[in-house]
Symmetry: C2
Subunit: 371 residues, 2 copies
């Protein structure tokens, strides 16, 4: 087995747990947030900087790398780790989410998805077998099955059909995998916002027996309450001894709530994307650094933060950089945001170890404002 | 005196020399190349990275900082060094070159230059006194006088009038300076492409007695041969015991030729600007990393280079980053280009110390192609 998982400690108050994920490129303590390196780079950062702020695992995108520079080129380079100079674990998505987001530029059949590249409009094709082949070329530690992520809202009949197909595709992915000893393949639970379908998808995906399970199709525009309700109706049907990954979640409160409901892994472009728009993540919520109120504010983004940015630069300076579109500004906020999430997950893990996660969560919300 | 200069060694073959420039923020070995930090940041780089690649002094821009974030704000922050987290020497230009580049958006009178901001079109005014005031607010180690840089080509009568005014302005700058003990003010020689006027400008500027002298108005579009001829007709009229700064020069061959003719300091946006266009500077000349020929080239930009970029990343990877517009690509090439210039100046200084600069220069041109 390429990847193994051990639960080290469980909360006595909720489904939260601390665990260790072992991969061919090292161990990762969970719950963990994975920064997104869409195009073989976590935007603005070097791999060394990611290590300095203690990111343990990153995510990269099959769809984007397949288009540019091409997965065969990356294979020739010696794999994605070598290509991008990152020797820690990498999880790759399957490209499913991206091609389904292409709207009328794609055509779904049982065989797979025909689509036009968002770059040059050229015709391309992704299928369960192709998605696995690409991810094998990339050489990620964890691959994801090729799934369909239904939009929100979507009617029950469509979602049911879609999850049936996702299950058939999951089986095809598993059957086409060549190196289960080197790369793990995770299943993905779908089922839209329908608890009954979520349960069915979870049970049938687990039947296929994957070394880890993702919850997909959430955080796609639905209200937070609905998302949490659906999550609560999904994780109980996933085996305790396997890692659980909630796809596309990356704001502080969602992470806390995900962990509370038994999630071990998260990814999201949020921290890196908002950074390039001048927004910092803090213990009190989002902070729009470009606001006029910070013009002459010579204090750091967060006085209590120990990150490179907060130790060396003021809000006024970072605001100036953002306003003048200087790359360093985007770098400094990205650094801070990723550091913040690493610290958040550290605190969460510690609270679970101390078995006081519920108290910790309550005190977290005393200062945190979702804004 | 804020700044002092000692010539440590002179070439016996040409006007090249090695010296030490002492400033309130540390010593700099010359000849030196100064990376440009237009808007209080050397584009894409942190100050720590500049230190890692051994940049000893940077340049920043009065015009740009006056507009954004404003020199009073920087003064309030504790000065430019503190604002941008750079504790080594800073030279600031006077804004003259920038406002004259505004074309019909500026109006020159004896008093100064009225102009419209390139950002919001608002009316602004720079004069010798104002340029010194701004630079005193910034707190740079070396300030430059407010000069007029005539375009190329320009007729002799215009250039003569312009240099007369630049001299009157230089005097006004000197008279309005408040802290000669903390900040040095350098004079600027103009005179267009007319050797006679260059000589006159040099002699009359030296009469005003500055702690250092710049050669302005070169590298403004004239042929290389003409530039070198004019330079040869300028430096002989500058005192040997004062530092000489050639403004706006930053390609390898121009640096070599400038040093050959007795120049100690250089600045240029070239290495950082072309990096963001995907062009690397090497010992054999420019290298366009985005070229298709590097698509599957897994070797570094320069196999012999010891910089962070060349030790860790391939041409194929950097090309991918540049093609996909990823910030890391621009960072990696900028790092390499600045490192290259630091190494070039190191080699030049060593050759002068060994008194074999002429041989070194010859062997340099054996591999280097100006392209």
């Amino acid at each position: 087995m390429a990847v193994s998982y051990i639960v080290n400690q469980k909360s006595s108050e909720c489904d939260a747990r601390v665990g260790t994920l072992k991969t061919p490129h090292g161990e990762v303590e969970t719950p963990v947030f994975m920064p997104v390196g869409t195009q073989a780079t976590v935007k603005t950062m070097t791999p060394d900087e990611l290590k300095e702020l203690e990111s343990e695992i990153i995510l990269s995108n099959t769809y984007h790398l397949y288009l540019r520079p091409g997965s065969k080129l990356i294979k020739e380079a010696g794999g994605l780790h070598k290509f991008m100079n990152w020797d820690r674990p990498i999880l790759t998505d399957s490209g499913g989410f991206q091609v389904f987001s292409l709207g009328n530029r794609r055509n779904i059949t049982e065989q797979g998805v025909e689509f036009r590249s968002h770059i040059d409009g050229s015709k391309m094709f992704l299928s369960p077998e192709k998605a696995v082949e690409i991810q094998e070329d990339l050489g990620s530690d964890i691959m994801m099955v090729f799934d369909e992520c239904p939009p929100y809202p979507a009617d029950e009949i469509y979602v049911k059909k879609s999850l049936d197909r996702t299950l058939r595709w999951a089986k095809r992915c598993k059957d086409s995998q060549n190196h289960a000893d080197k790369q793990a393949l995770f299943g993905i639970v779908q089922g839209g916002m329908y608890p009954k379908l979520r349960k069915e998808s979870a049970l049938r995906t687990v039947e296929l027996d994957f070394p880890g399970y993702a919850v997909g199709g959430l955080s796609v525009g639905e209200p937070k309450e609905l998302m949490l309700e659906v999550l609560e109706n999904t994780t109980p049907f996933l085996p305790e001894e396997k890692p659980r990954y909630l796809m596309g979640v990356g704001t502080a409160d969602y992470l806390v709530e995900g962990v509370y409901r038994g999630i071990d892994m998260f990814d999201c472009v949020f921290p890196t994307r908002v950074a390039r728009n001048g927004t910092a993540m803090t213990w009190t919520g989002k902070m729009t650094v470009r606001n006029a109120s910070y013009k002459k504010d010579f204090s750091p983004i967060d006085k209590s933060c120990e990150c490179y940015t907060c130790k060396n630069y003021s809000r006024a300076y970072i605001r100036h950089l953002v306003k003048t579109n200087e790359i360093l500004g985007f770098r400094l906020i990205t650094w801070h945001n990723l550091y913040f999430l690493v610290q958040l997950m550290k605190e969460i893990r510690q609270a679970i170890k101390n078995d006081n996660f519920k108290d910790w969560r309550e005190s977290f919300y005393k200062s945190y404002q979702h804004n």
